[in-house]
Symmetry: C2
Subunit: 322 residues, 2 copies
Amino acid sequence: MEAAAVLADRVRAGDVRAIARAMSIVDDESPAAAGLVAALHPHGGRARLVGITGSPGAGKSTLVDSLIGELRRRQRRVGVIAVDPTSPFSGGAVLGDRVRMQAHASDPGVFIRSLATRGQLGGLARSTGDVAAVLDAAGFDDILMETVGVGQDEVEIARAADVTVVVLVPGAGDDVQALKAGIMEIADVFVVNKADVPGAERTAASVRMLLGMSGADAQGWRPPIVLTDARSGRGVAELVDAVERFADAGQDIIAARRGARSGLRVRTLVTVLLMRELEDTLVPGELDRVVAAVSARRLDPYTAARLLAARIVASPDTRHGG
Amino acid sequence: MEAAAVLADRVRAGDVRAIARAMSIVDDESPAAAGLVAALHPHGGRARLVGITGSPGAGKSTLVDSLIGELRRRQRRVGVIAVDPTSPFSGGAVLGDRVRMQAHASDPGVFIRSLATRGQLGGLARSTGDVAAVLDAAGFDDILMETVGVGQDEVEIARAADVTVVVLVPGAGDDVQALKAGIMEIADVFVVNKADVPGAERTAASVRMLLGMSGADAQGWRPPIVLTDARSGRGVAELVDAVERFADAGQDIIAARRGARSGLRVRTLVTVLLMRELEDTLVPGELDRVVAAVSARRLDPYTAARLLAARIVASPDTRHGG
């Protein structure tokens, strides 16, 4: 705990190496993570978490790059979490795109972290949230969370954001796919990027039409559609303005999202702690033997789960009070 | 339990209405589900679970349609689970694609079930597995699990399969995206569909090259690449042959996958049971109050989780023996 408090102080002071180390620690749900999260938690909640998602090729990296510039002009400190889908075949190429952002590497008001999705089934949203929490405690004002694609991962990461920006490109057949995959529901602000390409207005119009059909303003907010050209920076200030308008008008929505996030985080940690308790309780190899019996159809999975759960659950009469 | 045993008997006899009802029951993890799974479990494990995935537009539905025909010619009973990503904007259209399959609706040797992904964060692979388990107990020989897209959901569903077929189309820029998203690692058999389109051989050659680089045959199996034209049925018999070859040569791999699946299922059910126990133990509103304290930064999430877990965990000295 002592060490956690010292590290937390260094994070809060904005020490770059301490921030990087804290990110690694919070990510592994170890006892060290518990102490560090406890030390950082009271100092969080001030940053604005901005999710930026959209199809591959929509120009999100360039847009994030422009956003950093615009936010820095507004005297805001900016953290960036770039979520990269990696595979043995592509890891290098995707990371290469990030090199551009390193133009900001010498600016102490900017901190960029890449997260790889590989092998993180279901854990990616959590990792993103933990890394964001460190940047939040370190006093960054805006935390941009960039994800590639429009799959379930991205929807989950959107739930880790206060504001979600969905980036489309004019005329790409992808647009309709993106909308199909449930992305309409997560957008607080739409961007049609590469607005110099013919068809940008038409794409904006189709989104406007779909929004009209969807009743997306049921909560009092109809997502605006901002045309940008990230390369020249055109429209980027308007995008920041739109995000700020949502942060202002959508305060109740944001509070509800943060509450849902806290709830999910607590529930997830409870299951982690309970499973760890179970693993500590079982004899080595015991779980494997139970699973083998299920595989061999000698035991059904529900009965197996009930037997295992009973190993750590107190009978009601021996429980501690609430 | 009595009712579960009766329903299980009707499922095993192939009663279509009983199968549909059992699918609904197993999906909700209720006490009724526990009894039914227990009754069905000893009779499962015989079906071959075939996952079929790939980009939207790759022609997977048509391919599944042809596969049903080929498998029926081989006297095999075929179950199909079509996983549909739905949104308010697309639900109808995607389901419309399935209508074609209904040509088999009057064939008692074919059972088709659609599963919607909407709102099923993380639970989709489980639902697919449960529905497959009912079809398995009902005596279907092959269970085709068709998913759209190449996201995390699809990777998870692939893990629910014994054999995974990845469907590509010639020359689509999508190919490279698909490979990037980690799909290379899950394919046991590749299909280049629409093989009449120019560039099919070139697409097959690029996959072959990537496979050569990847050492994909480390486990003694190098995924074959089958060219099909699902509309005419060309190549579909070869595809079934390739799947059968994998089922034969890859027996150890399949056994390992089934073991991993049993392990994941048991662990998931343990957490479900433990969380249910916790919810039953807490005073109504108590969890909400704890979460609100976390949101308000008066309590950190680890401490909250520890306090909650302690409400149901037995101290070591009051535990039942193992």
